[in-house]
Amino acid sequence: MPGDPVASLVARTGGVSSDGTAALVKYYNELFGLNKSLPEQFINFWASLLQGDLGRSVFGHGRPVTEQIMGAVPFTLALLIPAILLSWWAGNSFGALAARRKWLDNTVLPVGYILTATPYMWLGLVFAFVLGFTFKIFPLSGGYGYNLEPSLTWRFFTDLVAHWIMPFLSLFVVMFGGWAIGMRNMIIYELESDYSRYLEALGAPQGLVRKYAFRNAMLPQITGLALQLGVIVAGSLVTEIVFSYPGVGQLLFNAIKSSDYFLLQGIFLFIIVGVLLANFIVDIVYIIVDPRTRVGMRGGTA
């Protein structure tokens, strides 16, 4: 990546004499370990990575990268986990309800497609403009009020929630549309299949047929969740930028702006490992939910 981070860091400090500048450059080069040869730097990188040290951040004036990421992660997870789980649950239930019901279907389908076609950040902007700027219901930016210090008080907690609602809502709404459409399509497909027809021919009540269809349609939706994780994470990154929410996305944005490669590299490593881990968890959930995979793993055939 182009650009000299040390030069930009020294430039930001500003107002020092030429001697001072030289001393600063020397100090920062030693701090970041840039005074060593390239192979040495590479070995150093792996050695410190194994010790959980990702180096120091230029953007954070030399603070360790790990510390900065760890400070941002709780905010991102607090946004992502409820948004993913709630939208998955709500979208699936709603989509299943809508399938093959004329009136609901005619509204859910277009609305769902419009929602999935909405860029995350734009919905965030609209929420911020309507709820934050025009009606002033929720604060426009930040993770908590600038006049507050993080503490375990009731006032801080309510402030935290007030700042959390809008980014959460914009993530939730876009994802909701996607799950609802996916579920609706799957249910229609399942209701066409032989076992549903057979149940219907036997005179089973509609509710029972739908229940079986729902359980079968769930499985592709779980796979879909695993496939979509990368996109969802990307969505949360841009949403955080809209609201200046102090999560990983905002940190990434700042890292790009100040060409801070140590921080960038750390964030990427973190995101990739996080997404892989989440994929792994989804795989395990799949085994728990689908008995056929368990039978297959023991060597039997379903």
Partner: protein
């Protein structure tokens, strides 16, 4: 964000009987039948209409309103009025929002077409090869697909794009294309798998035709509707990814795009100044384009798949 999902669903529903039926019909009769249903599908026609309007704006907008989208010569922060040349108002710097919108829409269609097209090509090449050849080639290609699928694409795109000092819409489209193909490859592989053991493929093999000729002449035509729909989904997906990339500040340098408009609006505090006409139009542009593509896809599905028709 459903692109993967809907595709999976489509894969299931298309793998039923319709394509076989369509293949049995003589080509002319089949296309006539599709046209008949296309003209009666409300979803298809409405989506086509919206897309047509947007394409007209993208193609003729910059010609009619020849204002330079980056020229700062209007009155700053003008709300939209009915006067000619000020339909969408002006930005904080006095740039014409309509000129930016029309030029941005152009870039959006360009990225979708090129990025989506490239992704469709790679997806087809990988999917057909893996599905038809099978064996260790399939194993390797499948591994590659899974690796690219799991990696958070946006993160990789950010690294690649930040290496380049000057970026154009063209490069952006290429980057989006090379990273968004995996789900398409997966879906096409599954389809090819189900087709490769059919009688007509065996017959073609017996007659001594080469692998690529069999794929192009026997397998691809049997899933042409499916391939077309895959392209449409990739088209929409590429537009959304490019918009996110622009929004982080890695959009085209010196050009204009809808995502870049939103980035500029947020950077220059349009939200706090209440300049809503700066960031609302680009979002609506993206939403309308991608939404129309998705709805058109549903319409096409109903046209090609007799099971889903309710006309």
């Amino acid at each position: 964000m459903t692109s993967g999902l809907t595709a999976d669903t489509k894969m299931e529903s298309v793998s039923g009987s319709p394509d076989k039926d369509a293949a049995i019909l003589p080509a002319k009769k089949a296309s006539g039948e599709f046209l008949y249903f296309a003209l009666r599908s409300k979803k298809f026609l409405v989506a086509l209409g919206i897309l047509f309007v947007l394409i007209v704006i993208a193609v003729f907008g910059p010609i009619i309103d020849a204002t330079d989208p980056l020229a700062q010569n209007g009155i700053p922060i003008q709300p939209p009025t009915a006067d000619a040349g000020n339909w969408f108002g002006t930005t904080y710097f006095g740039e014409d929002v309509f000129a930016q919108f029309a030029n941005g829409l152009r870039a959006t269609f360009f990225v979708g077409l090129l990025g989506g097209g490239l992704a469709a090509l790679i997806g087809m090449a990988v999917g057909f090869t893996a599905g038809y050849r099978g064996g260790w080639i399939d194993e390797i290609l499948n591994m590659l697909t899974n690796v690219v699928l799991v990696i958070p694409t946006l993160a990789v795109l950010i690294v690649i794009t930040s290496y380049l000092k000057a970026r154009g819409v063209f490069f952006e489209a290429i980057f989006v294309g090379i990273t968004s193909w995996p789900w398409a490859a997966r879906a096409i592989r599954a389809q090819t798998f189900s087709l490769r053991s059919r009688d007509f493929v065996d017959l073609a093999k017996l007659s001594g035709r080469g692998t690529w000729r069999i794929i192009v002449q026997e397998i691809a035509p049997n899933m042409s509707s499916y391939l077309f729909m895959t392209f449409i989904l990739l088209f929409g997906g590429a537009i959304l990814i490019a918009a996110s990339l622009d929004f982080i500040g890695l959009g085209p340098t010196g050009g204009m795009s809808l995502g870049l408009m939103m980035f500029n609006a947020v950077t220059w505090a349009a939200l706090n100044l209440g300049i809503w006409w700066w960031f609302i139009p680009p979002g609506i542009g993206i939403m309308a384009t991608v939404g129309a593509l998705y709805v058109m896809n549903v319409g096409l599905d109903e046209i090609f798949n007799p099971k889903l028709r309710d006309i």
